[in-house]
């Protein structure tokens, strides 16, 4: 077992045990913080598929996070007001989490298909700018959409349901989120080792070679972008459920930036990078945010140090350079 495997195992154990310990000690607040970290980690796991495996520097992942958030917000809003989502069809809202997740992931994937098909014609800085521009379009759209709260956002009064779980109990809701996160990690790991993952990683490193063996590097990247968006959309739905509130902020480019930054801090392209990054992000936000509202300065310094001295992020620092899969 390599060192990275041990580190990964330790992270998984910590994900399961630490919040449980906090719960047993009655530290509900820490359980909620852990839930926040796990939800953000899920968004990061999504981004990591595009960024780490596909090499796509997307500054527009807030679009998918926001779509997930609003999918939850809109469905739950109609469920709590007993109004149909689409008047003419009489389509009702829902407060059932699995259904909300499905809608969130599907719409995020659909948006990614359209955004990706356009922006993957470019690369480098232009790709970053186009994804950023799409992000801003969605942000301003949400801001000026009065039906669902416009800039005030949308409050959902009761957390949505998950069969067999009381989601209002923090540790139980954490259990749901952690289970989803672990599943996503499993999927991400599988993906990296699959034939698709091999071709995608090659498309990131040497697109000319991928074309020369008869595969389409752009299509591989597009599929990665869509899968990545679906996970980030799912995270958006959970994020909204955690806060019982959605607002256009979820769409803002700050959100895209934050997700990307903590993935880089944790380790781009490393399985547990997003998890470690999200935990550090939430911890710093909590510990330093209490001292000064400028806590992100410290975060910036950390990012700088990581980029300068630890290319594999914190995971790289602990586990060493990545071994080629296999």
């Amino acid at each position: 077992m390599s060192r990275e495997h041990l580190v990964n195992l330790a992270v998984v154990l910590a994900l399961v045990l630490l919040p449980l310990a906090a719960h047993l000690m009655g530290e509900t607040y820490w359980v909620t913080l852990a839930t926040r970290a796990a939800v953000l980690a899920l968004a990061g796991v999504g981004l990591n598929i595009a960024l780490g495996q596909g090499g796509l520097v997307s500054l527009g992942h807030a679009v998918f996070f926001g779509i997930g958030g609003y999918a939850m917000g809109i469905l739950a809003y109609h469920a709590q007001t007993y109004t149909p989502v689409i008047e003419s069809l009489g389509l009702p809202g829902t407060n059932l989490m699995p259904l909300i997740w499905l809608v969130a992931a599907m719409f995020a994937a659909l948006a990614a298909l359209m955004i990706g098909a356009l922006s993957l014609r470019t690369s480098g800085v232009y790709f970053i700018m186009i994804t950023l521009a799409f992000g801003q379009m969605f942000y301003f759209f949400a801001l000026s959409w009065p039906t669902y709260g416009g800039e005030d956002g949308l409050s959902i009064y009761v957390r949505n349901r998950f069969p067999g779980v009381n989601t209002l109990v923090p540790i139980q809701f954490y259990g749901v989120v952690a289970a989803v996160l672990l599943l996503a990690l499993l999927l991400s790991d599988r993906l990296a080792r699959s034939p698709f993952g091999l071709a995608l990683a090659a498309a990131r490193q040497v697109p000319a070679r991928v074309a020369a063996v008869g595969l389409d590097p752009q299509r591989l990247k597009l599929v990665a972008f869509v899968l990545s968006a679906a996970l980030t959309g799912l995270a958006g739905a959970l994020f909204a459920d955690l806060n019982r509130f959605v607002s256009p902020t979820m769409f803002s480019w700050h959100t895209s930036g934050e997700i990307m930054v903590f993935v880089i801090i944790g380790g781009v392209g490393r399985l547990m990078g997003p998890v470690v990054g999200a935990v550090v992000f939430v911890l710093l936000e909590h510990l330093l945010g209490g001292i000064s509202e400028y806590w992100q300065i410290a975060f910036g310094v950390l990012l700088l140090l990581i980029v300068l001295f630890a290319r594999g992020g914190l995971i790289g620092l602990i586990a060493g350079r990545e071994k080629a899969h296999g």
Partner: protein, 249 residues
């Protein structure tokens, strides 16, 4: 005579005032090695790019395996069985040697849309890849990270990837470049046997290799083919001697 597998007719390509290819007509027949030689800047790379689909010619066309492929992409030509090796190794450096070759096998199969099964446990791909590594003598390095290979080993790996495509023709862009005498000799021996599997269009600077291998040689100077013929023809040609080989040759 058998119909050529690969053929260019009147390929012309300009970059501004520079004529990189001018009315280039060459063909590659079954079972042969056709070498393209020429001084630096003669337009060899431009020619290869047009043959493989990375560049569109201004005029002229490319025929491959009985069809006009001039309008087809690199990918489409590869799918029809045109395998190229790159002058500067285009390999995924973070991957293992085996993974690089498996990418070729995956390309040959043409369906990369499997998301949950580990690629290394795909026996079909693995056997194709391992057989190719065996043939070029890289079996012992299957698990090595490609970035750690020597220059010569990377050239071997390039050839191995091309083998997995089970192509109808090879286009090799200076496969001997940077090889030592021993490596060059070994690869020459290997290519010699390969021509019966699929003909090879060989762009090469190493004259010993070219003279040892080629059934025919075309000489490219300033984008134009100034001569095509057997090794003996080319050695004796005054035009070629003047333009390329120099007085002493």
């Amino acid at each position: 005579m058998a119909e050529p597998v690969l053929e260019t007719k009147g390929l012309t390509k300009s970059f501004g005032a520079l004529r990189a290819s001018e009315d280039v007509s060459i063909d590659l027949r079954p079972g042969e090695i056709h070498a393209i030689i020429g001084p630096n800047g003669a337009g060899k790379s431009t020619l290869i790019a047009q043959i493989c689909g990375a560049l569109r010619p201004d005029s002229g066309d490319v025929r491959f395996a009985g069809a006009d492929v001039t309008a087809l992409s690199v990918r489409a030509r590869a799918r029809r069985g045109l395998a190229r090796t790159f002058q500067i190794s285009a390999l995924a450096m973070d991957h293992t040697v085996l993974q690089n070759v498996m990418l070729g096998a995956l390309g040959a199969r043409g369906r990369p849309w499997r998301f949950f099964v580990p690629v290394l446990s795909d026996r079909g791909l693995r056997e194709t890849a391992e057989a190719a590594l065996e043939r070029v003598g890289l079996s012992d390095h299957a698990a090595t990270r490609t970035a750690e290979l020597s220059h010569g080993q990377r050239r071997q790996l390039e050839v191995a990837v091309a083998l997995t495509l089970r192509p109808r023709a090879f286009v090799m862009d200076e496969p001997m470049a940077g090889l030592g005498a021993g490596g060059s000799k070994r690869l020459t021996g290997f290519l010699d046997g390969l021509r019966t599997e699929a003909p090879i269009l060989l762009v090469e600077h190493d004259m010993d290799a070219v003279f040892a291998l080629a059934d025919r040689i075309s000489v490219l100077v300033y984008g134009k083919v100034i001569a095509t013929g057997t090794v003996a023809d080319i050695r004796q040609s005054d035009v070629v001697r003047e333009a390329y080989l120099g007085e002493g040759a």
